[in-house]
């Protein structure tokens, strides 16, 4: 099965004719994911990616003509919130927003509308998701993956690649790797993804990669204590040495008060029986020690 993306994925790319949209869509096609449509207003009727993909003016038209069920958004920040709303209104079930730099208050409203529409948004400012051997949506390099049974969920981009590469090198394949994005307001949280992994028969182990700021990791740990007993898990938290009260790059990493520190997150995870790696390189060993055979 895998989660979020898989054999049933029929992808529409919003912003397919832009530089980023074009570049990553080629890699997505090469990975074997069916991109059934692209959307760029006023370019309806053209074909993108060397003629391989029809372009529509609106997502509604793309859905009607191609049965797209998943969207990947590369639209610039000023238009990305609207692109998400358009996808949700057109009945797209799973929306990945790769765009970074979207004002947080815009996302507050977008997340509310998407939720009310019954759609799922991953991101923004996320690298996407890959279900190795089945489908890949977004910008995660396809080469780092290996088919298998470990689910990976992360707030980070390149750190995820690092962890996944280490797993692949150690012979541990992945069911699905999901980057949920590092922005303060995101559509899908650690907890949401853990629920999906818990319900996925093909996911037998879980790796959680967090960072300082917020309390999403603590929340996920509390849920895991109750619902993921017996599932081999490993975690990593970036920012153990980050000074308090400073932003580390993206807004995902503010420490405020006592909560949100690496120490608090590590304590919560360890309390849930999840070992936290000191380096991403330790993840495979921790999974093995937790009894993962895959």
């Amino acid at each position: 099965m895998s989660i979020l993306v898989g054999r049933d994925t029929r992808l529409v790319v919003q912003g397919i004719t832009g530089r980023e949209g074009d570049f990553h869509s080629r890699a997505t096609l090469e990975y074997g994911t069916p991109i059934v449509a692209g959307v760029t207003p006023n370019k309806g009727g053209q074909r993108a990616l060397d003629g391989r993909v029809p372009v529509f003016d609106t997502v509604a038209e793309a859905v009607r003509e191609t049965g797209a069920n998943t969207s990947c958004i590369y639209v610039p920040a000023s238009g990305a919130p609207d692109a998400v709303l358009e996808a949700a209104a057109a009945g797209i079930a799973t929306i990945f927003c790769i765009t970074e730099g979207i004002p947080a208050l815009d996302m507050l409203k977008v997340v509310e509308v998407v939720r009310a529409a019954g759609a799922r948004l991953i991101g923004p400012n996320c690298p996407g998701a890959t279900s190795p051997g089945r489908a890949k949506v977004g910008i995660i390099p396809g080469s780092i993956h290996r088919e298998g049974g470990a689910g990976v969920v992360s707030r980070s981009g390149t750190l995820t690649y690092e962890a996944v590469q280490v797993m692949t090198d150690a012979g541990i394949g992945q069911s699905t790797c999901v980057g949920i994005g590092g922005d303060p307001i995101i559509g899908t949280t650690f907890l949401d993804v853990l629920r999906l992994f818990a319900a996925d028969p093909e996911t037998d182990a879980i790796v959680l990669i967090g960072e300082i700021g917020g309390s999403a990791e603590e929340e996920a740990a509390a849920w895991a204590t109750e619902h993921l007993q017996g599932v081999p898990m490993a975690a990593f938290i970036a920012g153990r040495t980050a000074p308090e009260g400073r932003r580390m790059g993206h807004a995902g990493a503010i420490i405020s008060g006592g909560s949100g520190t690496a120490a608090s997150k590590i304590a919560a995870l360890e309390a849930a029986g999840i070992r936290v790696a000191a380096s991403p390189m330790e993840i495979p060993a921790i999974l093995r020690a937790a009894g993962y055979q895959g």
């Binding site: 208050l105 981009g157 390149t158 999403a216 040495t241 000074p243 790059g249 008060g257």
Partner: protein, 391 residues
């Protein structure tokens, strides 16, 4: 982006919030003249406050109240001589000192868990609210504003009753709380705090004492992602307090934070950059900075990052850690080669480039005699070794 108290007060004022008047001055003489105007307008005492973006002004002696112009001038001179957490005080806020009857805390923050603007109010105002949150969390009342409609009137009233501001101040408080959220929405702020929000005693036009609510201090943090659509807010950036390295980083679109160690780091991605710092520390070193060159960085950005790192005289070694995804490894390698050709001083460098075009990058680095590393842990260990022991 943090903005100065005086600018934050202007933004509150624009939403109709009650903020006592003030002037911003840069010299003790100007402080004296501003104080004379305040005394003339009826002020009994005048407050002088350092305008710096770091917390803890009060404890550092950056806030003083004085009863006559001489005392104000002396206080201003003393504060202008201060460095607060390493920041030289250059500007002062001068205005009438309020007669405070009781202090409250009122703040609004973007809450990532509830995905709401959370408005917080407390009757324990005028102190470090983090301390209140730690010691007596029940003293802070919280409410999530409606994502589309902002803070509703009943929510504002509910907070008022919760902090004991029912009665004559109910409408005043509700208006302030709604204006607080409006300030956040209008300016795309992450955080707006009024601490203290105070009941102050004033003399009315009829000579009778009146009590009303006033915003005596203000703190606003703006969402960097939204500054592009608020050019008037971008203009509030305090260039006085911005380090040249910080400015270059901002202008180049590089996320950079200076730290105290000796190993300069250049990484793509914030999470990986923090991890790199963590591993440097774990290997016995001290990172000199956090630096994320972002996704898809090209050669010129790499060169700029190198300049920024080398501008720090404490840097004794540089660790470059790139996991190519959008970013192409060979572009980074080329940038490093160019940068080294023109760099100000010779510093040992350890380079790890994996992912997209890693083999091309490896060939370039080898041809140019760079020290390279394969794994993350290996890279950290090598960088620490060439930098020598941490202080």
């Amino acid at each position: 982006m943090k903005i100065q108290e005086a600018d934050a007060k202007s933004l509150l004022l624009a939403q109709g919030l009650p903020v006592p008047g003030w002037e911003v001055v840069r010299s003790a003489g100007d402080a004296r003249r501003a104080a004379e105007r305040a005394f003339e307008a009826g002020a009994v005492k005048v407050v002088v406050k350092a305008q710096v973006l770091v917390g803890g002004r009060g404890k550092a002696g950056g806030v003083k109240v004085a009863g006559d112009a001489d005392a104000v001038e002396a206080a201003a001179a003393a504060i202008l001589a201060l460095q607060i957490k390493g920041i030289q005080v250059r500007k002062l806020l001068v205005g009438p000192a309020a007669e405070i009857v009781r202090e409250y805390y009122l703040g609004a923050i973007l809450d990532r868990v509830s995905r709401r603007i959370v408005v917080m109010a407390s009757a324990e105002g005028g102190v470090e609210i983090e301390e209140v949150a730690r010691v007596n969390p029940a003293a802070i009342h919280r409410l999530g504003a409606h994502p589309h409609l902002g803070l509703l009137d009943w929510q504002a009233r509910q907070l008022a009753f919760a902090v004991g501001l029912g009665g004559p101040h109910l409408r005043e408080f509700a208006k302030i709380a709604e204006g607080l959220v409006a300030t956040m929405l209008v300016n795309d702020a992450d955080l707006v705090e009024i601490n203290p929000l105070a009941v102050v005693r004033e003399t009315g036009p009829d000579g009778m004492a009146v009590e009303r609510l006033a915003c005596l201090d203000a703190k606003i943090t703006l969402d960097d992602s939204a500054l592009a659509r608020h050019p008037e807010l971008e203009a509030l950036r305090d260039l006085d307090e911005e380090d040249p390295a910080d400015r270059e980083a901002r202008e180049e679109g590089i996320n950079f934070i200076k730290l105290d160690g000796s190993i300069g780091c250049m990484v793509n991605g914030a999470g990986l950059a923090m991890t790199t710092m963590d591993l440097v520390k774990r290997a016995g070193g001290e990172p000199a900075n956090f630096l994320d060159i972002g996704g898809g960085a090209r050669a010129d950005k790499v060169a700029a990052a190198m300049r920024i790192i080398l501008a720090d005289p404490q840097v004794k070694a540089i660790l470059v850690n790139i996991f190519g995804g959008i970013t192409r490894g060979d572009e980074v390698a080329r940038g490093l080669i160019e940068a080294r050709a023109v760099q100000a001083r010779e510093v040992p460098m350890v380079v790890r480039i994996v992912g997209t075009n890693a083999s091309e990058a490896g060939a370039l680095l080898e041809a140019n005699h760079f020290a390279t590393a394969s794994s993350l842990d290996d890279a950290a260990a090598k960088a620490v070794a060439v930098a020598g022991p941490a202080r």
